[in-house]
Amino acid sequence: MRTILSVDDDPKVLAAFETALKQKGYEVFITTDPEEVARILTDHEINLVMLDIRMPQKNGFEIFQELKKRYEKLPVLFVTAYPKSFTMHSDEMIDLWKNEFADGNTDIMYKPFTLDLLYEKVEGLIGSATGDEGE
């Protein structure tokens, strides 16, 4: 079974993700605490990390860079209500995009979104809940 970790500072969002993804058969871990991410990734085999960007303790890009150091090919789906979060405003951001997104293991989804789009993005990164790639 494919396993997803969702990180967001809003418990309501996490609960909604959990419900929606479990309906599709995925195993889902959720956390509002970015510091928990490393522990969950160590303790469980996670196939996909869904990351909010604007969080008070640590933003999604920081978490992304940390986990990419240890799990280079781990698929990540950024979920944000702020498309401007991806503004190429600095060399650092451009480097992040060119270096960390180039392998195709990362995708972006903007809120609000349809459930179909959520499933499509998740399946496009890790396949179906049972591991069927569908290709």
Binding site: D9, D10, K12, V13, A16, A20, R54, F78, T80, A81, Y82, P83, K84, F86, T87, M88, H89, M93, W97, K98, F101, A102, D103, G104, N105, T106, D107, I108, M109, Y110, K111, P112, F113, T114, L115, D116, L117, L118, E120, G124, L125, I126, G127, E133, E135
Partner: protein, 115 residues
């Protein structure tokens, strides 16, 4: 998943905003739906030539037999094959890339109250 990764890699290389696009892959090819836009802050805008190059690169991805695109901001001239930007007033930029699977999609309505 390799096909999806390869398709995303092409889009990333051209600084395409992945959040505005829906990508589906089937036995018949790659299907792109939504808005084909550069990421915010990218100074060089997409041009018909760049769109042509992106589509050509996608069609050369190993395993891709055909690329179908239904962009809400670009269309291909049927006679000439050239890409033409649709007039802005017809665009719906604020809407997410909707999935073509369902005519009346259910919107995920959790509000984000940050800021």
């Amino acid at each position: 998943m390799k096909l999806y990764r390869d398709v995303r890699s092409v889009l990333v290389r051209h600084f395409v905003d992945l959040g505005r696009l829906s990508v589906q892959i089937s036995m018949t090819g790659v299907y792109l739906h939504g808005s084909l836009l550069r990421l915010p802050g990218v100074t060089s805008a997409l041009t018909p030539e760049v769109v042509r190059v992106i589509m050509a690169e996608l069609s050369r991805v190993p395993g891709v037999q055909r690329v179908n695109a239904d962009f809400d901001n670009w269309q291909q001239d049927r006679a000439m094959g050239a890409w033409v930007e649709k007039k802005k007033e017809k665009r719906k930029e604020k809407e997410p890339a909707a999935s073509p699977r369902e005519p009346t999609p259910k919107v995920f309505e959790v509000e984000d109250d940050k800021q």
